[in-house]
Protein backbone atom coordinates (compact mmCIF):
# COMPACT_ATOMS: atom_id res chain seq x y z
CA UNK A 1 0.00 0.00 0.00
CA UNK A 2 1.31 3.43 -0.93
CA UNK A 3 1.94 5.76 2.04
CA UNK A 4 -0.12 8.44 0.25
CA UNK A 5 -3.11 6.38 1.37
CA UNK A 6 -2.22 7.39 4.96
CA UNK A 7 -3.27 10.92 4.02
CA UNK A 8 -5.93 10.05 1.46
CA UNK A 9 -8.09 7.98 3.83
CA UNK A 10 -8.23 10.53 6.67
CA UNK A 11 -8.89 13.28 4.12
CA UNK A 12 -11.93 11.32 2.91
CA UNK A 13 -13.16 10.66 6.44
CA UNK A 14 -12.26 13.87 8.28
CA UNK A 15 -11.49 16.45 5.60
CA UNK A 16 -12.40 19.45 7.77
CA UNK A 17 -10.42 18.28 10.80
CA UNK A 18 -7.17 20.19 11.38
CA UNK A 19 -4.27 17.98 10.31
CA UNK A 20 -1.24 20.26 10.49
CA UNK A 21 -0.23 23.52 12.11
CA UNK A 22 2.92 25.50 11.45
CA UNK A 23 3.17 28.89 13.11
CA UNK A 24 -0.39 30.16 13.36
CA UNK A 25 -1.56 28.53 10.14
CA UNK A 26 -3.79 25.48 10.50
CA UNK A 27 -4.32 23.17 7.53
CA UNK A 28 -7.22 20.75 7.38
CA UNK A 29 -6.79 17.24 6.01
CA UNK A 30 -8.38 18.41 2.74
CA UNK A 31 -5.96 21.32 2.50
CA UNK A 32 -2.98 19.13 3.37
CA UNK A 33 -4.13 16.65 0.70
CA UNK A 34 -4.46 19.47 -1.83
CA UNK A 35 -1.07 20.93 -1.00
CA UNK A 36 0.59 17.52 -1.37
CA UNK A 37 -1.11 17.22 -4.76
CA UNK A 38 0.19 20.65 -5.71
CA UNK A 39 3.75 19.70 -4.77
CA UNK A 40 3.41 16.48 -6.76
CA UNK A 41 2.56 18.70 -9.73
CA UNK A 42 5.64 20.90 -9.20
CA UNK A 43 7.83 17.81 -8.97
CA UNK A 44 6.29 16.22 -12.08
CA UNK A 45 6.85 19.48 -14.00
CA UNK A 46 10.50 19.30 -12.91
CA UNK A 47 10.77 15.87 -14.51
CA UNK A 48 10.40 13.72 -11.40
CA UNK A 49 8.83 10.34 -12.04
CA UNK A 50 8.61 6.81 -10.69
CA UNK A 51 11.89 5.54 -9.24
CA UNK A 52 13.48 8.99 -8.94
CA UNK A 53 14.95 10.35 -5.71
CA UNK A 54 14.12 13.86 -4.47
CA UNK A 55 16.24 15.28 -1.63
CA UNK A 56 14.75 17.46 1.11
CA UNK A 57 17.20 19.60 3.01
CA UNK A 58 15.43 21.77 5.51
CA UNK A 59 13.75 22.21 8.83
CA UNK A 60 10.36 20.79 9.88
CA UNK A 61 7.96 22.60 7.55
CA UNK A 62 4.61 21.85 5.96
CA UNK A 63 6.50 21.54 2.67
CA UNK A 64 8.22 18.41 4.01
CA UNK A 65 4.84 16.78 4.54
CA UNK A 66 3.66 17.79 1.08
CA UNK A 67 6.90 16.58 -0.51
CA UNK A 68 6.65 13.25 1.33
CA UNK A 69 3.18 12.51 0.00
CA UNK A 70 3.83 14.24 -3.31
CA UNK A 71 6.79 11.98 -4.02
CA UNK A 72 4.78 8.93 -2.97
CA UNK A 73 2.04 9.94 -5.39
CA UNK A 74 4.56 9.98 -8.26
CA UNK A 75 6.23 6.72 -7.24
CA UNK A 76 9.36 8.69 -6.36
CA UNK A 77 11.35 8.48 -3.12
CA UNK A 78 11.93 11.38 -0.74
CA UNK A 79 15.46 11.43 0.68
CA UNK A 80 15.13 13.23 4.02
CA UNK A 81 18.63 14.59 4.52
CA UNK A 82 20.28 16.21 7.52
CA UNK A 83 20.69 19.80 6.37
CA UNK A 84 22.72 20.62 9.47
CA UNK A 85 25.59 18.31 8.54
CA UNK A 86 28.82 20.00 7.52
CA UNK A 87 29.41 20.68 3.83
CA UNK A 88 31.40 17.45 3.34
CA UNK A 89 28.63 15.35 4.87
CA UNK A 90 25.92 17.15 2.90
CA UNK A 91 27.91 16.47 -0.27
CA UNK A 92 28.07 12.77 0.69
CA UNK A 93 24.33 12.62 1.44
CA UNK A 94 23.33 14.25 -1.84
CA UNK A 95 25.72 12.19 -3.94
CA UNK A 96 25.00 8.91 -2.16
CA UNK A 97 21.23 9.31 -2.36
CA UNK A 98 21.41 9.96 -6.11
CA UNK A 99 18.87 12.77 -5.79
CA UNK A 100 17.99 14.30 -9.16
CA UNK A 101 16.27 17.26 -7.52
CA UNK A 102 16.76 19.02 -4.18
CA UNK A 103 14.08 20.82 -2.19
CA UNK A 104 16.04 23.38 -0.22
CA UNK A 105 15.13 25.40 2.83
CA UNK A 106 17.46 28.26 1.93
CA UNK A 107 16.92 30.12 5.19
CA UNK A 108 17.89 27.14 7.33
CA UNK A 109 20.60 25.72 5.12
CA UNK A 110 22.38 28.36 3.02
CA UNK A 111 25.48 26.19 2.60
CA UNK A 112 23.37 23.44 1.00
CA UNK A 113 22.70 25.66 -2.00
CA UNK A 114 26.42 26.00 -2.58
CA UNK A 115 26.97 22.23 -2.42
CA UNK A 116 23.97 21.56 -4.68
CA UNK A 117 25.33 24.02 -7.25
CA UNK A 118 28.76 22.37 -7.07
CA UNK A 119 27.23 18.96 -7.74
CA UNK A 120 25.07 20.33 -10.54
CA UNK A 121 21.80 19.12 -9.00
CA UNK A 122 18.67 21.12 -9.77
CA UNK A 123 17.21 22.88 -6.72
CA UNK A 124 13.78 24.23 -5.86
CA UNK A 125 13.25 26.51 -2.86
CA UNK A 126 10.52 25.75 -0.34
CA UNK A 127 8.84 29.09 -1.14
CA UNK A 128 8.09 27.83 -4.65
CA UNK A 129 6.42 24.74 -3.21
CA UNK A 130 4.42 26.84 -0.76
CA UNK A 131 3.04 28.96 -3.61
CA UNK A 132 1.81 26.02 -5.70
CA UNK A 133 -1.97 25.84 -6.26
CA UNK A 134 -3.76 22.99 -4.48
CA UNK A 135 -5.00 20.00 -6.46
CA UNK A 136 -6.19 16.67 -5.06
CA UNK A 137 -3.43 14.15 -4.43
CA UNK A 138 -3.64 11.04 -6.56
CA UNK A 139 -2.75 7.71 -5.01
CA UNK A 140 -1.23 5.12 -7.33
CA UNK A 141 -2.67 1.63 -7.05
CA UNK A 142 0.33 -0.20 -8.50
CA UNK A 143 2.77 0.41 -5.61
CA UNK A 144 4.67 -2.64 -4.43
CA UNK A 145 5.37 -3.06 -0.71
CA UNK A 146 9.07 -3.25 -1.57
CA UNK A 147 9.09 0.13 -3.35
CA UNK A 148 11.09 2.73 -1.43
CA UNK A 149 9.06 5.67 -0.11
CA UNK A 150 11.64 7.44 2.03
CA UNK A 151 15.40 7.34 2.28
CA UNK A 152 16.94 8.39 5.58
CA UNK A 153 20.50 8.14 6.80
CA UNK A 154 21.78 6.53 9.97
CA UNK A 155 23.32 8.96 12.38
CA UNK A 156 26.76 7.58 11.61
CA UNK A 157 28.03 7.42 15.19
CA UNK A 158 30.79 5.02 14.20
CA UNK A 159 31.22 5.53 10.46
CA UNK A 160 29.92 7.48 7.48
CA UNK A 161 26.14 7.80 7.41
CA UNK A 162 24.47 4.94 5.54
CA UNK A 163 21.22 5.20 3.61
CA UNK A 164 18.29 3.25 5.04
CA UNK A 165 15.50 2.70 2.50
CA UNK A 166 12.06 2.77 4.13
CA UNK A 167 9.57 0.98 1.95
CA UNK A 168 5.89 1.71 1.48
CA UNK A 169 5.16 -1.71 2.97
CA UNK A 170 7.21 -1.19 6.12
CA UNK A 171 5.92 2.33 6.82
CA UNK A 172 2.28 1.47 6.29
CA UNK A 173 2.69 -1.72 8.33
CA UNK A 174 4.10 0.32 11.21
CA UNK A 175 1.27 2.85 11.12
CA UNK A 176 -1.46 0.23 10.77
CA UNK A 177 0.03 -1.78 13.64
CA UNK A 178 -0.37 1.30 15.86
CA UNK A 179 -3.73 2.79 14.98
CA UNK A 180 -6.88 2.82 12.90
CA UNK A 181 -7.70 5.75 10.67
CA UNK A 182 -9.28 8.79 12.32
CA UNK A 183 -13.05 9.01 12.49
CA UNK A 184 -12.83 12.76 12.92
CA UNK A 185 -13.04 12.76 16.71
CA UNK A 186 -10.53 14.73 18.77
CA UNK A 187 -7.34 12.67 19.29
CA UNK A 188 -5.30 15.53 20.72
CA UNK A 189 -2.42 17.55 19.34
CA UNK A 190 1.16 16.38 19.02
CA UNK A 191 4.19 18.66 18.84
CA UNK A 192 6.91 17.39 16.50
CA UNK A 193 10.25 19.02 17.22
CA UNK A 194 12.53 16.09 16.40
CA UNK A 195 13.96 16.46 12.88
CA UNK A 196 11.80 14.95 10.17
CA UNK A 197 14.93 13.42 8.62
CA UNK A 198 14.97 11.09 11.64
CA UNK A 199 12.86 7.92 11.80
CA UNK A 200 11.20 9.13 15.02
CA UNK A 201 10.02 12.29 13.27
CA UNK A 202 8.67 10.46 10.22
CA UNK A 203 6.91 7.73 12.19
CA UNK A 204 5.37 10.24 14.63
CA UNK A 205 4.13 12.31 11.71
CA UNK A 206 2.56 9.41 9.84
CA UNK A 207 0.86 7.79 12.84
CA UNK A 208 -0.50 11.10 14.12
CA UNK A 209 -1.87 12.13 10.72
CA UNK A 210 -3.50 8.74 10.13
CA UNK A 211 -4.88 8.49 13.65
CA UNK A 212 -6.29 12.02 13.68
CA UNK A 213 -3.95 13.71 16.12
CA UNK A 214 -3.25 17.24 14.88
CA UNK A 215 0.45 17.72 14.16
CA UNK A 216 2.06 20.98 15.27
CA UNK A 217 5.46 21.44 13.65
CA UNK A 218 8.33 23.17 15.39
CA UNK A 219 10.82 23.86 12.60
CA UNK A 220 13.84 23.43 14.86
CA UNK A 221 13.81 22.63 18.56
CA UNK A 222 14.40 25.50 20.96
CA UNK A 223 13.22 25.10 24.58
CA UNK A 224 11.49 28.51 24.92
CA UNK A 225 9.67 28.14 21.59
CA UNK A 226 8.69 24.54 22.40
CA UNK A 227 7.14 25.65 25.70
CA UNK A 228 5.30 28.52 23.99
CA UNK A 229 3.93 26.18 21.30
CA UNK A 230 2.94 23.59 23.91
CA UNK A 231 0.93 26.17 25.84
CA UNK A 232 -0.45 28.07 22.84
CA UNK A 233 -1.71 25.00 20.97
CA UNK A 234 -2.78 23.05 24.07
CA UNK A 235 -0.38 20.25 23.10
CA UNK A 236 -1.37 16.85 24.49
CA UNK A 237 1.46 14.64 23.19
CA UNK A 238 5.09 15.12 22.26
CA UNK A 239 8.15 13.12 21.34
CA UNK A 240 11.53 14.42 22.45
CA UNK A 241 15.03 13.02 22.62
CA UNK A 242 16.73 12.96 26.03
CA UNK A 243 19.03 15.91 25.28
CA UNK A 244 16.00 18.03 24.32
CA UNK A 245 14.26 17.10 27.56
CA UNK A 246 17.41 17.98 29.51
CA UNK A 247 17.38 21.46 27.93
CA UNK A 248 13.65 21.83 28.47
CA UNK A 249 13.75 21.27 32.21
CA UNK A 250 16.66 23.70 32.55
CA UNK A 251 14.86 26.44 30.59
CA UNK A 252 13.93 29.52 32.65
CA UNK A 253 10.64 29.71 30.69
CA UNK A 254 9.49 26.38 32.19
CA UNK A 255 8.34 28.11 35.39
CA UNK A 256 5.69 30.16 33.56
CA UNK A 257 4.78 27.59 30.92
CA UNK A 258 1.24 26.29 30.52
CA UNK A 259 1.53 22.51 30.23
CA UNK A 260 -1.94 21.79 31.59
CA UNK A 261 -3.06 20.01 28.41
CA UNK A 262 0.04 17.82 28.17
CA UNK A 263 -0.81 14.20 28.94
CA UNK A 264 2.11 12.28 27.46
CA UNK A 265 5.75 12.71 26.62
CA UNK A 266 7.51 10.02 24.65
CA UNK A 267 11.26 9.87 24.48
CA UNK A 268 13.79 7.85 22.56
CA UNK A 269 16.41 7.91 19.75
CA UNK A 270 19.21 7.88 22.33
CA UNK A 271 19.66 6.27 25.75
CA UNK A 272 17.81 7.96 28.62
CA UNK A 273 20.05 8.16 31.70
CA UNK A 274 17.98 7.19 34.77
CA UNK A 275 19.21 10.27 36.67
CA UNK A 276 17.90 12.54 33.90
CA UNK A 277 14.55 10.74 33.82
CA UNK A 278 14.14 11.29 37.56
CA UNK A 279 14.86 15.01 37.11
CA UNK A 280 12.35 15.24 34.23
CA UNK A 281 9.61 13.55 36.26
CA UNK A 282 10.30 15.93 39.16
CA UNK A 283 10.34 19.04 36.94
CA UNK A 284 7.22 18.48 34.81
CA UNK A 285 3.60 18.43 36.04
CA UNK A 286 2.56 15.17 37.76
CA UNK A 287 -0.28 14.81 35.25
CA UNK A 288 2.21 14.02 32.49
CA UNK A 289 2.66 10.35 31.57
CA UNK A 290 5.85 8.99 29.98
CA UNK A 291 6.63 6.48 27.27
CA UNK A 292 10.13 5.36 26.40
CA UNK A 293 10.55 4.14 22.83
CA UNK A 294 13.40 1.96 21.62
CA UNK A 295 13.78 1.58 17.90
CA UNK A 296 16.09 1.82 14.95
CA UNK A 297 15.95 3.26 11.48
CA UNK A 298 16.62 -0.25 10.18
CA UNK A 299 13.58 -1.67 11.96
CA UNK A 300 11.45 1.24 10.72
CA UNK A 301 10.82 2.86 14.08
CA UNK A 302 9.78 1.61 17.50
CA UNK A 303 10.30 -2.00 18.49
CA UNK A 304 9.86 -1.73 22.28
CA UNK A 305 7.97 0.62 24.58
CA UNK A 306 8.31 1.30 28.28
CA UNK A 307 4.79 2.56 28.74
CA UNK A 308 3.07 4.91 31.15
CA UNK A 309 2.11 2.12 33.56
CA UNK A 310 5.73 0.96 33.66
CA UNK A 311 6.84 4.49 34.48
CA UNK A 312 4.26 4.75 37.26
CA UNK A 313 5.54 1.45 38.66
CA UNK A 314 9.15 2.48 38.86
CA UNK A 315 8.23 5.89 40.26
CA UNK A 316 6.21 4.15 42.99
CA UNK A 317 8.99 1.52 43.32
CA UNK A 318 6.86 -0.87 45.37
CA UNK A 319 9.32 -3.70 44.65
CA UNK A 320 12.92 -3.98 43.49
CA UNK A 321 11.67 -5.40 40.17
CA UNK A 322 9.49 -2.32 39.66
CA UNK A 323 12.30 0.05 40.66
CA UNK A 324 14.63 -1.66 38.15
CA UNK A 325 12.29 -0.78 35.28
CA UNK A 326 13.88 2.66 35.12
CA UNK A 327 16.83 0.94 33.42
CA UNK A 328 14.64 -0.86 30.88
CA UNK A 329 13.53 0.23 27.39
CA UNK A 330 10.31 -1.74 27.75
CA UNK A 331 8.66 -4.68 26.04
CA UNK A 332 8.31 -5.57 22.35
CA UNK A 333 5.43 -3.94 20.49
CA UNK A 334 2.75 -6.11 18.89
CA UNK A 335 4.38 -6.79 15.51
CA UNK A 336 7.90 -7.40 16.85
CA UNK A 337 9.79 -10.20 18.59
CA UNK A 338 13.05 -9.50 20.38
CA UNK A 339 15.72 -12.21 20.58
CA UNK A 340 18.93 -12.11 22.58
CA UNK A 341 21.65 -14.02 20.75
CA UNK A 342 24.85 -15.66 21.91
CA UNK A 343 28.10 -15.72 19.90
CA UNK A 344 26.73 -18.57 17.80
CA UNK A 345 23.62 -16.47 16.98
CA UNK A 346 21.40 -18.75 19.06
CA UNK A 347 18.74 -17.28 21.38
CA UNK A 348 19.69 -17.33 25.06
CA UNK A 349 17.54 -17.68 28.18
CA UNK A 350 16.19 -14.68 30.17
CA UNK A 351 18.65 -12.52 32.13
CA UNK A 352 21.61 -13.52 29.95
CA UNK A 353 23.31 -10.73 28.03
CA UNK A 354 23.89 -11.01 24.31
CA UNK A 355 23.33 -9.25 20.99
CA UNK A 356 19.85 -7.78 20.63
CA UNK A 357 18.09 -8.97 17.47
CA UNK A 358 14.76 -7.77 16.13
CA UNK A 359 12.39 -10.09 14.29
CA UNK A 360 9.85 -8.09 12.34
CA UNK A 361 8.44 -7.83 8.85
CA UNK A 362 9.30 -4.13 8.99
CA UNK A 363 13.07 -4.74 9.04
CA UNK A 364 14.84 -3.31 6.02
CA UNK A 365 16.44 -5.87 3.75
CA UNK A 366 19.67 -3.91 3.36
CA UNK A 367 21.18 -0.48 3.03
CA UNK A 368 20.83 1.86 0.06
CA UNK A 369 22.98 0.65 -2.88
CA UNK A 370 23.30 -2.68 -1.11
CA UNK A 371 19.72 -3.79 -0.92
CA UNK A 372 20.06 -7.31 -2.28
CA UNK A 373 22.88 -8.49 -0.07
CA UNK A 374 20.80 -8.54 3.11
CA UNK A 375 23.61 -7.24 5.33
CA UNK A 376 21.34 -6.33 8.19
CA UNK A 377 18.28 -8.47 8.14
CA UNK A 378 19.01 -12.04 7.22
CA UNK A 379 15.75 -14.01 7.50
CA UNK A 380 14.01 -10.92 8.91
CA UNK A 381 16.24 -11.00 11.99
CA UNK A 382 17.98 -7.68 12.43
CA UNK A 383 21.07 -7.87 14.62
CA UNK A 384 21.22 -4.40 16.10
CA UNK A 385 24.76 -4.19 17.44
CA UNK A 386 23.27 -3.33 20.84
CA UNK A 387 23.94 -5.61 23.79
CA UNK A 388 21.34 -6.39 26.40
CA UNK A 389 19.10 -8.92 28.06
CA UNK A 390 15.43 -9.74 28.54
CA UNK A 391 14.13 -10.38 32.03
CA UNK A 392 11.59 -13.11 32.74
CA UNK A 393 8.73 -10.64 32.18
CA UNK A 394 9.99 -9.72 28.70
CA UNK A 395 11.45 -6.32 29.60
CA UNK A 396 14.50 -5.42 27.55
CA UNK A 397 17.56 -3.93 29.23
CA UNK A 398 20.30 -2.44 27.05
CA UNK A 399 23.81 -2.60 28.40
CA UNK A 400 25.69 -0.93 25.54
CA UNK A 401 26.95 -1.25 21.99
CA UNK A 402 28.99 -4.32 21.14
CA UNK A 403 31.53 -2.09 19.41
CA UNK A 404 31.80 0.26 22.43
CA UNK A 405 32.60 -2.43 24.97
CA UNK A 406 35.75 -1.68 26.96
CA UNK A 407 37.96 -4.67 27.64
CA UNK A 408 40.25 -4.10 30.61
CA UNK A 409 42.57 -7.03 31.19
CA UNK A 410 39.91 -9.44 29.90
CA UNK A 411 37.05 -7.86 31.88
CA UNK A 412 34.18 -6.45 29.78
CA UNK A 413 32.91 -3.04 30.83
CA UNK A 414 29.79 -1.36 29.44
CA UNK A 415 30.37 2.40 29.02
CA UNK A 416 26.66 3.05 29.63
CA UNK A 417 26.84 1.59 33.13
CA UNK A 418 29.71 3.91 34.06
CA UNK A 419 28.09 6.93 32.36
CA UNK A 420 24.86 6.37 34.29
CA UNK A 421 26.80 6.16 37.55
CA UNK A 422 28.58 9.45 36.80
CA UNK A 423 25.32 11.18 35.85
CA UNK A 424 23.85 10.41 39.28
CA UNK A 425 26.18 13.11 40.65
CA UNK A 426 24.65 16.59 40.71
CA UNK A 427 27.91 18.21 39.67
CA UNK A 428 27.89 16.44 36.31
CA UNK A 429 25.73 17.69 33.45
CA UNK A 430 26.87 15.19 30.81
CA UNK A 431 29.26 12.26 30.66
CA UNK A 432 30.82 9.92 28.14
CA UNK A 433 33.01 6.91 28.76
CA UNK A 434 35.27 4.99 26.41
CA UNK A 435 38.26 2.68 26.47
CA UNK A 436 41.60 4.47 26.60
CA UNK A 437 44.76 2.55 25.57
CA UNK A 438 46.85 1.42 28.54
CA UNK A 439 50.16 -0.45 28.55
CA UNK A 440 49.26 -2.69 31.47
CA UNK A 441 45.58 -3.45 30.94
CA UNK A 442 45.19 -2.96 27.21
CA UNK A 443 42.35 -0.52 27.89
CA UNK A 444 41.12 1.35 30.95
CA UNK A 445 38.00 3.42 31.54
CA UNK A 446 38.37 7.01 30.38
CA UNK A 447 35.63 9.42 31.47
CA UNK A 448 34.75 12.72 29.80
CA UNK A 449 32.57 14.93 31.99
CA UNK A 450 30.81 18.24 31.46
CA UNK A 451 30.33 20.08 34.74
CA UNK A 452 27.16 21.97 35.63
CA UNK A 453 29.24 24.81 37.09
CA UNK A 454 31.62 26.04 34.39
CA UNK A 455 35.15 26.24 35.75
CA UNK A 456 34.33 23.96 38.67
CA UNK A 457 36.68 21.24 39.78
CA UNK A 458 36.13 17.51 39.55
CA UNK A 459 39.01 15.12 40.07
CA UNK A 460 39.74 11.49 39.28
CA UNK A 461 39.28 10.78 42.99
CA UNK A 462 35.81 12.39 42.78
CA UNK A 463 34.99 10.20 39.77
CA UNK A 464 36.12 7.07 41.62
CA UNK A 465 34.00 8.11 44.60
CA UNK A 466 30.92 8.74 42.43
CA UNK A 467 31.42 5.28 40.87
CA UNK A 468 32.12 3.54 44.17
CA UNK A 469 29.02 1.39 43.67
CA UNK A 470 30.65 -0.22 40.62
CA UNK A 471 33.28 -2.94 40.62
CA UNK A 472 36.76 -1.44 41.04
CA UNK A 473 37.88 -2.33 37.49
CA UNK A 474 34.92 -0.38 36.07
CA UNK A 475 35.82 2.89 37.75
CA UNK A 476 37.37 5.69 35.64
CA UNK A 477 41.16 5.72 35.54
CA UNK A 478 41.49 8.72 33.21
CA UNK A 479 39.41 11.86 33.52
CA UNK A 480 38.86 14.65 31.02
CA UNK A 481 36.79 17.69 32.01
CA UNK A 482 35.35 19.21 28.81
CA UNK A 483 32.85 21.95 27.97
CA UNK A 484 30.58 19.78 25.84
CA UNK A 485 30.34 16.37 24.21
CA UNK A 486 30.00 15.67 20.49
CA UNK A 487 26.46 14.46 19.82
CA UNK A 488 24.23 13.97 16.78
CA UNK A 489 21.16 16.24 16.40
CA UNK A 490 19.12 13.50 18.07
CA UNK A 491 21.49 13.33 21.01
CA UNK A 492 23.46 10.20 20.22
CA UNK A 493 27.00 10.36 21.48
CA UNK A 494 29.72 10.50 18.82
CA UNK A 495 32.38 8.49 20.66
CA UNK A 496 34.70 8.50 17.66
CA UNK A 497 34.97 12.29 18.00
CA UNK A 498 36.05 12.25 21.65
CA UNK A 499 39.55 13.74 21.80
CA UNK A 500 41.63 10.92 23.28
Amino acid sequence: MNIAMLLDLPAMLAGDHVALIEGDTPLTYSQTHGHAGAVAGVLADAGVGAGDVVGYLGANHVEFVSALFGCASLGACLAALNYRSGAADVRHLIADSGAKLLLVDEAAAPSVTEVGRELGVRMIGLAELAAAVDVPLSVPDDTEDTDVAVLIYTSGTTARAKGVPLTHGALTEYVLSRTDVTDGSDAGRTLIAVPLYHIAGISSLLTALYGGRTVVLEPRFAPAEWLALAGGHRITHAFLVPTMLAKLIEAPELAGADLTALVSISYGAAPMPPALLRRIVAALPPSVGYNGAYGLSESVSTVAVLDEDDHRRFIAAASSDDAALINSVGRAVSDVRIDILDDASEPVEPNRTGQIAIVSRRNVSGYWHDRNTQPVAAQSRLVTGDLGYLDTRGYLFITGRASDMIIRGGENISPVEVENALLEDDRIADAAVLGVPDETWGEVVGAFVVLRAPGGTFTLADAAQVCSGLARFKRPERLYVVTDLPRTPTGKLLRRELPV
Binding site: T179, R213, N291, T302
Partner: protein
Amino acid sequence: MYELGKRLTCAECGTQCLVIHPSEPGELLCCDQPMSLNEPKKLPSSD
Protein backbone atom coordinates in the same frame (compact mmCIF):
# COMPACT_ATOMS: atom_id res chain seq x y z
CA MET B 1 -21.13 -3.16 3.16
CA TYR B 2 -17.99 -2.02 4.94
CA GLU B 3 -17.07 1.44 6.17
CA LEU B 4 -14.05 3.22 4.80
CA GLY B 5 -10.91 2.63 6.87
CA LYS B 6 -12.19 -0.53 8.58
CA ARG B 7 -9.97 -3.58 8.71
CA LEU B 8 -10.93 -7.20 8.31
CA THR B 9 -9.03 -10.40 8.98
CA CYS B 10 -9.42 -13.92 7.69
CA ALA B 11 -9.59 -16.25 10.68
CA GLU B 12 -8.24 -19.09 8.53
CA CYS B 13 -5.14 -17.67 6.80
CA GLY B 14 -4.63 -14.37 8.62
CA THR B 15 -4.94 -12.20 5.51
CA GLN B 16 -5.89 -8.64 6.40
CA CYS B 17 -7.87 -6.16 4.32
CA LEU B 18 -8.21 -2.40 4.66
CA VAL B 19 -11.24 -0.74 3.10
CA ILE B 20 -9.93 2.08 0.95
CA HIS B 21 -12.90 2.68 -1.35
CA PRO B 22 -16.55 3.00 -0.41
CA SER B 23 -17.90 -0.51 -0.81
CA GLU B 24 -20.99 -1.98 -2.42
CA PRO B 25 -23.38 -3.96 -0.23
CA GLY B 26 -22.06 -7.48 0.19
CA GLU B 27 -19.67 -9.60 2.17
CA LEU B 28 -15.93 -10.11 1.82
CA LEU B 29 -14.94 -13.77 1.73
CA CYS B 30 -11.54 -15.38 2.22
CA CYS B 31 -10.84 -19.13 2.51
CA ASP B 32 -14.55 -19.67 1.75
CA GLN B 33 -15.69 -17.83 4.85
CA PRO B 34 -16.63 -14.25 5.74
CA MET B 35 -13.78 -12.09 6.97
CA SER B 36 -14.29 -10.66 10.44
CA LEU B 37 -14.07 -6.99 11.35
CA ASN B 38 -11.09 -6.07 13.54
CA GLU B 39 -11.56 -4.39 16.91
CA PRO B 40 -11.00 -0.62 16.68
CA LYS B 41 -7.42 0.42 17.46
CA LYS B 42 -6.97 3.90 18.89
CA LEU B 43 -3.75 5.84 18.50
CA PRO B 44 -1.71 5.04 21.63
CA SER B 45 -0.21 7.79 23.74
CA SER B 46 3.32 6.58 22.98
CA ASP B 47 2.86 7.73 19.38
